[in-house]
């Protein structure tokens, strides 16, 4: 699995460094050129577009090359709530995904170790959502939790929900959907860490009179930190840019729009390319900043 490699930081055991300039070049060049052309250049292209200013003729959707930083100020003042919301929802959903995934990954990776077949099959259930369209799964939640659904009628009948309270369109619904959609990205790296956990350390701690809480806090958690880090990154980053869950046609409303919704609207509907690009640049910048700080503080720098 990709996630296994993602969370492993150990050096290659059998690496035999060889020097062979031409071969390396032949292996690397096609892929790296591709990366430069269709990843670096698009990002640069976004930066250039974010600095453009409106065409003097006033035609809608027409922009001229300029070094005009006004789009940045504009989008920050216009979309401040959406920016805050994106990161707020992402923090909340990442937290819930971690709380749901860690015990699940522990159960599969540690408790089910003695039964390899059941372990593999349970893990398959975790990745099962990958095999079915994530849009359809989100629509399924929308219908299960819609205002007149049996679910809500039941929740009202047991007074968990007031008569005129509803679920869809609320921040709670969006966070629910985001958590749901990204749980497997959290569970898999956690599983790879927990599956390798040497249980003798836990026994040793127990022998030294550590109580279960201490064992978890001082042994299990630190040893599985690489999994926690890649899991939280693999969940947090895509969530900040997601716009499907928060969109009105899915679980959200105009009150729950995130950065992604605004980029999409400005780029594809309003033809306001500089604003959409500036907003993307801000999103990317904040993410890189957070990831750098996070990775530095937790001390795993070589993620790939």
């Amino acid at each position: 699995m990709a996630f296994a490699a993602f969370s492993s930081n150990k050096p290659a055991p059998n690496a035999a460094p060889m020097k062979s300039g031409k071969i390396v070049l032949a292996l690397l060049l096609p892929g790296l050129l591709y990366l430069a052309m269709f990843f670096m250049v698009p990002l640069a292209s976004l930066l250039v577009t974010s600095l453009e200013s409106p065409d003097p003729s006033g035609a809608i959707g027409q922009y001229v090359y300029a070094v005009d930083f006004s789009s940045y100020g504009n989008v920050i003042s216009r979309y401040f709530p959406q920016i805050l919301r994106s990161f707020g929802y992402a923090f909340a959903a990442t937290f819930f995904a971690l709380v749901i995934s860690y015990p699940l990954a522990y159960f599969i990776g540690v408790r089910l170790r003695t039964r390899p077949l059941i372990q593999k099959l349970t893990l398959t259930l975790v990745i099962a959502p990958f095999f079915i369209s994530f849009l359809l799964r989100t629509i399924a939640w929308k219908q299960i939790l819609s205002d007149n659904s049996p679910t809500l009628t039941f929740l009202r009948s047991i007074h968990l929900l007031g008569d005129n309270q509803f679920f869809l369109g609320t921040p709670f619904a969006v966070i629910w959907g985001l958590t749901y959609n990204f749980i497997p990205f959290m569970t898999l790296p956690l599983y790879t860490s927990l599956e390798r956990l040497d249980l003798r350390y836990l026994e040793a701690a127990g022998d030294l009179y550590a109580n279960p809480a201490q064992v978890f806090r001082k042994i299990t958690l630190p040893l599985t930190m690489p999994g926690v880090i890649s899991g939280t990154l693999l969940t947090f980053i895509p969530i900040t840019g997601d716009y499907v869950n928060a969109s009105r046609d899915f679980l959200g409303s105009s009150q729950t729009s995130m950065i992604g919704n605004m980029v999409q609207a400005d780029f594809l509907q309003n033809s306001d390319y500089p604003s959409a690009s500036a907003l993307s640049a801000i999103l990317m910048g904040v993410i890189l900043l957070l990831v750098t700080v996070y990775v530095r503080r937790t001390g795993t720098e070589d993620l790939l």
Partner: protein, 268 residues
């Protein structure tokens, strides 16, 4: 003692609930592929029918979108797997200048939200005056699959013992023979899982595709557009069919390999 036993029960129960949460929308989607719904809306249960499974292409555009997604997934997977495997081999097997820079530039696409990548590619194609369509979709899919191929194959290259290749060279195999007869077969499991992952990512991608599709409709785009009006049951049929095929293949493979492992254990 009693408390301890309760603790032993809580974890399986919690895991079971988590799995149920994960599987509810899947069960719902499959169940509603058997809904006897009328026209394009499929929101309330109208009774059980097999008719939607019998005539999937009944609703206009669904099979075409499905075909487009299969085609885009296949081409993108092929290109991404070839490019990514080469990079993975180079990264593990060779030491060269700027190696960590290469690693970082491969990590960056994974740290980029899809909406940024989608908008960036669209801005590039727009500035180049390139018309959006199959080519632009495939270009962007190869882009986001590439890094995932590299990490997946890299993990496999790391487990490869260079001694095997050396033995091949000692026996006068030329570099091409060493690669095709030794390296490639040993890497194959990693390459296959990278390809499967790429295909799954490409097939289900919505956000980047939405920015770069132009007039082409893929399966996720079809669902997104239909979401405001109601998604026809035929869509559920295709998604459920793909899901059941994939899940039974995986489960079947696991049971078979488990049985094989047991047989080996018995003989040794």
């Amino acid at each position: 003692m009693k408390k301890l036993r309760l603790g032993r029960r809580i974890l399986p129960l919690y895991s079971l609930l988590a799995l149920v949460y994960l599987l509810i929308p899947i069960a719902y989607t499959i169940a509603f592929s058997f809904n006897n719904s009328k026209g394009r809306t499929n929101t309330t249960w109208q009774g059980f029918t097999f008719s939607k499974w019998g005539d999937v292409c009944n609703q206009a555009g669904i099979c075409e979108a499905f075909g487009n997604s299969l085609f885009i997934g296949a081409v993108s997977t092929l290109v991404a797997t070839v490019l990514g495997t080469a990079i993975a081999i180079a990264l593990v097997r060779y030491r060269f200048k700027f190696r960590s820079l290469v690693s970082l530039s491969l990590f960056l696409p994974m740290a980029t939200p899809e909406v940024v990548m989608g908008a960036g590619l669209a801005a590039l194609f727009f500035n180049l005056g390139a018309e959006q369509g199959f080519a632009t979709i495939i270009i962007s899919h190869v882009m986001f699959c590439l890094s995932f191929v590299v990490v997946t194959v890299k993990a496999r290259v790391q487990t490869l013992d260079p001694v095997l290749e050396e033995a091949g060279r000692d026996l006068y195999a030329n570099p091409a023979q060493v690669f095709w007869r030794i390296t490639f077969p040993l890497l194959l499991p990693g390459i296959v899982s990278a390809a499967l992952l790429s295909f799954a990512l490409s097939f289900d991608d919505f956000i980047i595709t939405y920015f770069n599709a132009g007039p082409v409709t893929t399966f996720p785009l079809l669902i997104y557009v239909a979401a405001s009006k109601g998604v026809p049951a035929e869509t559920n049929v295709i998604a459920s069919g793909v899901f059941l095929l994939a899940i039974f293949t995986v489960i079947g493979t696991q049971i078979a390999s488990n049985a094989r492992a047991r047989r080996h254990a018995k003989f040794n």
